[in-house]
Symmetry: C2
Amino acid sequence: MSRIDRRIGLLLIASTTMTLACAHGPTVRVADPAEVRAAIEAANVQFASAMLRGDAPAVGSFFTEDGECIYAGMKEFIVGRPAVEAFFVSLFKRVSFVEATITTSAVHVEGDLAFETGTNKLTRKAGEAAPSTGTARYLVIWKRSADGRWRIRVDAVVPNPAG
Amino acid sequence: MSRIDRRIGLLLIASTTMTLACAHGPTVRVADPAEVRAAIEAANVQFASAMLRGDAPAVGSFFTEDGECIYAGMKEFIVGRPAVEAFFVSLFKRVSFVEATITTSAVHVEGDLAFETGTNKLTRKAGEAAPSTGTARYLVIWKRSADGRWRIRVDAVVPNPAG
């Protein structure tokens, strides 16, 4: 290989590296939409399972450190994983969930962000009262963490009218 | 300039072009977060103004063609700009808005997507009844259209409890 070709070769390598670094951040991570949707649906199954167990730390682990919830029945944004976990600790003291189904409608990926729309069905039980079932539609922002795992950045849940 | 330097120069130009095309899509669009937030806040002012005028086509124009709403008081997702516009046509037949304030809490940009959290305050009037005021928290997905304008891809609004 001539000296010229070596110099050009090095530039081509540099060019390729810049391109990959630019498209995908410091490390190359491929965002196959079907794979992202599968990862999110799998997380939702585990999230629902944690709800049924009343396991607040497990629920909290699905959120990013700066994760937020926009839930009905309150006026505040719940901001940060510790606050999210505290919310679920308090919730699970008052009610237990005997049914939790989360159904993805659609997932759209843009870089390290994705947004998901879907519906949920939750049946809760407080003390000796009869269980009550509610349904809702949701919009969730997912963010890919440095470890490659998709976590919830914002969880906004709009309750459906009863009946 | 030597022939070698010219070849290397061309490669460097190609490399830079690839990098820009890769980061920002077919055309180079700079996503300054402060500018995106300003554009979104300006759109919100105009959106609120269209609500006060009861101008459903104007409200609809803030949505992408595939825009969706997740609103309380119904069980359905409103999907597509025509459906969004039809919803507001129907809403404005029943109520008029005498106050509409949309307040951005935060905006995060990722490529051609951005998400915004915030609060709103709407005062509506139906016929001769006294006006009623409601507040809500929202999560909005914004998408940059080919014309450079940011439009609403998903509008999810979680009503606050009264009082």
